[in-house]
Symmetry: C2
Subunit: 455 residues, 2 copies
């Protein structure tokens, strides 16, 4: 079999004409890929496409065996990986990287063991590929099935967390896809070694090493070339901060699944039980701070505010939370509890820190209107004992997840029982909310006839 | 309730910062929208967003009553619509528009009756909104449901077929969405009157007229502004030729569902019954020519070619089909049957005419390789009696629909029993193959707890 994608793509209609590099004013200055980088990245993508075919028809047993082999290979190469990681850490320290970022970048034997175990857990999950989504026999006798199949080639663009390199490779492999990785430059050496280890392990179980490739060597221009590799890359998943996601959405001609910006709200209704409301609020805000499903704004019904806010503000202060409140909130703060005056910017901000915007609203309508105006569409929670209020909150808000009397922190693939999580989609197309393995697949219609023709 | 989307969007995080017009080198020359056009289109989109809320929680009974009212209003306004259409036809004739295009543009009382009946049929279809896609009670007692909800605001960009104006409005309404329409300028007057009639009919049943709006008045710059209305428009569906679709895909920052380019293949395997193969071939190629599910290339296994091709070429010639064949095809043509020498361009072309590319291939592998190289990923058919060949064809090709012993013409929402068809998606994200009403919806996770917090 010839690798025709390599030799004929300049003339072919799909991959070809569309994958040609396209000039764009939206590319960040200095990141437009030159022809060499474009060709190198397209070559990676073509090899990924060819490799993906071997995996598309692989059995679950083959894929699970590969995942276990990858896990073993990572553990066996721990020393090599930790040494490469030390170079990244050294460079990071020299560049003045913050201790928090250095911690996220750091790999130890123990962390590598944890990453390897995540691959083993992935092997234990059901295979989404081959699921018959729907099917029927049509009146004319045609047998129709819609079957789940891999996307083909998945691109992942992420920041300086080398664990994502393995995680993304494992998720792609289990769902039958080849993956092209673009990690942050701060983790360049770690990623290089990890990808090399994974590639050798794949080859060891008879699968193409091209199933997991990195384009880190091509820097930011390489990332932009990947965003333009339409027809060769089937979907791009950016994982990281709002700026990264915005850039990918704007620049990419490859379809993108947006993940993870969360300006989540907790609304305490007039009828809320104060103790329940406080427990949900504290959990939503403080159980883990730097994550997209943490609460960033508290809205309190005016009737509930006098009975709820004073003690809630004390509890928040004790938990180390800085409150950015409107005038009514400030007026209810007990002596000794500080409230920073909130501006519109606070309503818009995903703090990802121990900060919380707080507003007293006259009624449910005002709460819904505030959320509609400022939300990023991730998760909103209502605390209430009023059935009608809960039903309006569920029906009238347009976010990926709506919680009734539960913490915003539950919007999570693991918590939802979906198994491994690709990310949390805040877009409406294809996937919304926590994404499991199934979201890295598409479907194919398979139709069997006996010489059927259309009348 | 204040219309905060209008007053605060300049500061809000979602709609706001992303919906700002973005310069783009990819915009076709002379079509970049100025600030006035951008603001006018964003205003249309904001009003659509507000209107969409009224529909998102409307019952099926309300929506179906509205569809019937729209149908009645169109019939009642037939004379007005036909008069406006006559202006478009007059201008078209003056501009030298081809008779075929004029025919697609023309509206008569009878055609308007047919369009109105399509709305009535839509009313009879099940409502996709509210369907519980999956649900469970988690081990901690949380009740989880994933529920189908409308997208919100759907944009449709299409060419000079005024029936699509009504069709798109009806599909959007039934699936709970507001729609923004951008039709071809050749149908401008017809569309203007039709949209006005629909708006008045909506108001007459107590729904916002803003649910169906047109931006035709803003020309091509308006269409480009629509493609940039990210955060206000939830999905864009281009319906038309390859150029239109390519432009929308390249230019749009709003998520796009690609429809309809079909370079479909029929492969006659070594074991095929010649009569079955001929029936499927003729049906795929000639039953209707200008449609995306018509066959454009025939591949014939070398072992089948001598027994199949000579009579097939005669039958194709009798059906008025011009064959563009490779050397082996030409060598098998009986005297008096012409075969034009095929080039790579023929393998790539979606003729949409009585032309067919024909190639003899040495084996199934070569057929698969040819299809992989040249297909647009729409529909491929195999004619075979060999089970293993059929299974490889199904498993190894990556197109939206695979037919075994059936005509490519069956890839169609109506034929698949999906009811009304939005289009046929050739992308992998969100929708693939024929799209019914469900594909104009997204989902929302609804979680009920009793004060649940995360440990």
């Amino acid at each position: 079999m010839t690798t025709s994608l390599e030799t004929t793509s300049a003339a072919a209609p799909g991959a070809a004409s569309l994958a040609a590099p396209q000039p764009s004013a939206a590319a960040p200055a200095g990141t437009a890929p030159g022809p060499d980088v474009t060709e190198a990245v397209l070559d990676v993508a073509r090899r990924a496409k060819v490799a993906s075919r071997a995996l598309a028809t692989a059995t679950r047993a083959t894929k699970d065996a590969a995942l276990l082999a990858l896990a073993d290979a990572l553990v066996a190469a721990s020393a090599e990986i930790v040494a490469a990681n030390a170079e990244d850490l050294e460079r990071g320290r020299a560049n003045g990287t913050s201790p928090g970022l250095l911690d996220r970048l750091a790999l130890t034997d123990e962390r590598i063991g944890g990453i390897a175990n995540a691959l083993r857990e992935l092997a234990a999950l059901p295979d989404p590929v081959g699921e018959v989504v729907r099917g029927s026999t049509l009146p004319n006798g045609l047998r129709l099935r819609q079957v789940r199949v891999p996307m083909g080639v998945v691109g992942m663009i992420y920041e300086a967390r080398p664990n994502v390199t393995v995680d993304a490779a494992g998720l792609a492999l289990k769902s039958g896809n080849a993956v092209i990785l673009r990690g942050g430059s701060a983790a360049a050496r770690s990623n290089e070694v990890v990808v090399d280890v994974l590639g050798r392990a794949l080859a060891g179980v008879g699968l193409p090493a091209d199933l997991v490739q990195s384009i880190d060597a091509h820097g930011r221009p390489g990332a932009v070339a990947l965003m333009h590799a339409r027809g060769l890359v089937d979907v791009l998943v950016p994982r990281g901060g709002a700026d990264l996601i915005r850039t990918v959405v704007r620049e990419s001609t490859v379809p993108v699944i947006e993940t993870g910006v969360g300006n989540c709200h907790v609304y305490v209704d007039a009828s809320a039980d104060p103790a329940t409301a406080l427990a949900i609020l504290l959990n939503s805000k403080t159980q883990r701070v730097g994550v997209c499903n943490a609460a960033e704004t508290l809205l309190v019904h005016a009737d509930a505010a006098p009975g709820f806010l004073p003690s809630a503000l004390v509890a928040l202060a004790q938990a180390g939370v800085v409150v950015h409140g409107d005038h009514a909130t400030g007026a209810l703060a007990p002596a000794g509890v500080d409230v920073v005056a909130a501006t519109d910017e606070d309503w818009a901000t995903e703090y990802l820190s121990l900060d919380l915007a707080v507003r007293v609203v006259p009624d449910l309508d005002a709460a819904l209107e505030h959320i509609r105006t400022w939300t990023s569409g991730h998760t909103e929670a209502i605390v209430t004992r009023d059935l009608a209020a809960s039903e309006r909150f569920v029906a009238e808000l347009d976010s990926a997840a709506i919680m009734v009397n539960a913490s915003t922190r539950f919007t999570d693939g693991g918590q939802f029982g979906l198994g491994a999580e690709i990310g949390i989609s805040t877009q409406k197309l294809h996937a919304r909310g926590p994404m499991g393995l199934g979201e890295l697949t598409t479907t194919k219609w398979v139709v069997h006839g006996d010489g059927h023709v259309r009348a």
